[in-house]
Symmetry: C2
Subunit: 413 residues, 2 copies
């Protein structure tokens, strides 16, 4: 591998996106790359020529191990979307100008749907304008909604955190309830696809009954059926815990969190404020049943909990980065590394580069046949798919009682 | 130790209250107790004669190890407060009747303020009525607000979870902010005492700047000063993360979460609903600055996260249970085990039984001299106090990718 390369991170961070940077760095160095640059705050920082020579941070193998245990985007992230080419050629030319300036042959970009769109746009521009630079995507998203690939690095760790935390919440909730059950509603990320919320189903086992119902954005939410379900559960159980995706919506398209009359939700500062959907549903259940309710949101905790990473996920994130480098070294461009399932039992995957055009801007949902007939649960097909992804642990390095992270000081300039 | 004993759990669960039950069981068996009963749902269940012979669950030493790794109340909890004696002698007599029936010599009760009140009332009744049965308290509360004792089992693990999660949240928040900072406000439990919120300060270290401000219920909340602080931080930083106790209140006594005009918070179902204080403050900051804000609540996660327990805390919880048994065996009654700090560096504690009358219904707050001059931070004195409490880890036993728990089936009857 001649010359230099650059790697960037984009979109919502995950617990293992830094493992992908570690994979890119390690593989590139092994293949003889001179410099491996990191973009500060993704393509947004790159356009301002904000680069860091990663040798300054990652030359020591110990640092690579700490980086694998560091959540969020070590290099900084952004939500910058490349504009359409026509009329914005200057933005594209700027990218190539900076690549030329630093003798960068390949740009690696780790991210989800929007980030893969950046890879597509840049490689399309290069092809149309006879540029020699190449572009590779490294899959990353807790949302797990990229197509073609069996799953996305980042999902396994988020799923492990969600399932483990759900188990702890269920344990907490069922310690009360001697007289009446508390209805606990847990909101999980995922506006359009229910992969993260589905992970709540993994908490079920010999030592846990799992959530009593799971509401996914793939299934139309019916308030009456929901209340019927809650009433039935409350009548027979000491504890009721329900998982709900932030993206659940009614037949008319309104999100559940918009259920309230907008005017009645105006806050003390005169602004319309939406409660989360768990809070909305918990308030509704409390009002209609008189039972004690509790709303919990995992919020960003679910995408940053590297203290509970899945080792499978960390390793696959690293491998995706490393394999993107290998593919670029073989002359590939405009592609993303996909994970292909060879077998679920024993779990085995292969990786391969795949045309980015089939991936960018396509969203993958949970197959209908993995959802239980009543629409509020996942069946064995999902468990068979997801269980291997949460297996294994990468014990943090604890310093002063807390997990140690690697920090790039340029993020704070 | 002759005859039988009974142990119960009460109040909000913690990650290590089961380790105290393990300590009671193990020590009692070692001292020759015949049966060790568990109360199902604390004194509330005990009054209904709901007892379980713990040999059925804990005779195997492996089970003891799993129990130490199981969050929440294994035996079930309750929020039952003993009524005043006068006019309710029947309730008290019922307790002694059930103790007689099962040949129970001592009742051990693990809990916080209300639970220690139960121990006090029962031992007072016994003394006044010439009963031979004895009563011992085992300290437990994430709130850390019991007096006399240096700290309470449960606090160290909650503090470790809060500090580790805070670090992950800060990491997540600072990965963005290339242009403008996101203001992230994290709500932590503690209505009257700020011990849990203070734990956010432990996240500060070589690899983390820690929260930018910490608001405790011990300090009167001033909205103008808060906004001034936020504006100042937002003007200079790429990321702003603020920790706030659920109990912060204004000079007029109103909680921050009540800041909005009540009528404007009426929900879609016609009920007055309070947002959390983090949500209230985040909405206020968004309205006043136009910056992106995020509100996060740790909710019950912070008291149930045994996957990230402090080993120091687990061991002290176990020891408190075991030492309560030893004290009872020496004829003590109406006492709680306290942890006494011998030294912070190296960390060393001793334990001793202490008169319950000095403990029940007394609430301990953070000393004023541990709070920074500006009122929104903790100084080195707090760190020196709290750091040893979060040291060490007890790795969960992972089965199918998730921490294994021990479950008592009688909780579900």
């Amino acid at each position: 591998m001649k010359g230099n390369i650059v790697v960037g991170q984009s979109g919502g961070p995950t617990a293992v996106i830094n493992a992908s940077v570690a994979g890119v760095y390690s593989a590139a160095k092994k293949l003889g790359a001179d410099k491996v640059y990191g973009m500060v705050h993704g393509i947004e920082g790159f356009l301002q020529d904000k680069l860091v020579d990663l040798d300054g941070y990652l030359a020591d193998p110990t640092a690579i191990e700490i980086l694998k245990r560091t959540p969020s985007a070590f290099l900084g992230s952004c939500r910058f979307k490349m504009p359409k080419i026509e009329g914005h050629e200057d933005v594209y030319e700027k990218v190539f100008e900076i690549m030329e300036k630093h003798d960068i042959s390949t740009l690696f970009y780790a991210g989800g749907n929007d980030s893969m769109d950046t890879v597509k746009m840049l490689s399309d521009y290069a092809a149309a304008h006879g540029k020699k630079q190449t572009f590779m995507g490294v899959p990353k998203t807790i949302d797990n909604d990229l197509p073609v690939t069996d799953h996305c690095p980042g999902y396994g760790s988020a799923a492990k955190y969600i399932a483990a935390s759900m188990k702890e919440i269920i344990r907490d909730n069922e310690s009360f309830g001697a007289e009446k059950p508390t209805i606990c509603i847990v909101e999980i990320m995922g506006r359009h696809a229910g992969w993260l919320t589905a992970a709540a189903a993994l908490s079920k086992g010999d030592d846990c009954s799992g959530p009593d119902a799971i509401y996914l954005p793939e299934v139309t939410f019916d308030v009456d059926k929901f209340m019927e379900k809650v009433n039935k559960l409350a009548a027979t159980k000491h504890s009721v815990v329900i998982a709900v995706s932030e993206g659940v919506a009614l037949a008319d398209g309104r999100f559940v969190c918009e259920l309230g009359d907008a005017s009645s939700f105006v806050d003390a500062f005169g602004h319309k404020q939406l409660s989360g959907c768990a809070k909305t549903l918990a308030d509704m259940v409390a009002a209609k049943t008189g039972l004690k309710t509790r709303a919990i949101e995992f919020s960003t905790l679910q995408r940053a909990a590297s203290h509970l990473s899945s080792l499978t996920d960390v390793n696959e994130a690293f491998q995706s980065g490393a394999d993107a480098v290998k593919a670029a070294n073989e002359g590939k461009t405009g592609m993303m590394i996909t994970l292909n399932r060879v077998s679920s039992d024993p779990y085995e995957i292969s990786t391969s580069p795949y045309d980015i055009h089939a991936i960018a801007n396509v969203e993958r949902h949970i197959p209908a046949e993995w959802i239980t007939e009543d629409g509020c649960g996942l069946n064995e097909k999902y468990i068979e798919y997801a269980r291997p992804l949460i297996m294994g642990e990468l014990q943090p390095l604890f310093v002063d009682g807390l997990p140690r992270h690697l920090v790039m000081k340029e993020l704070f300039d």
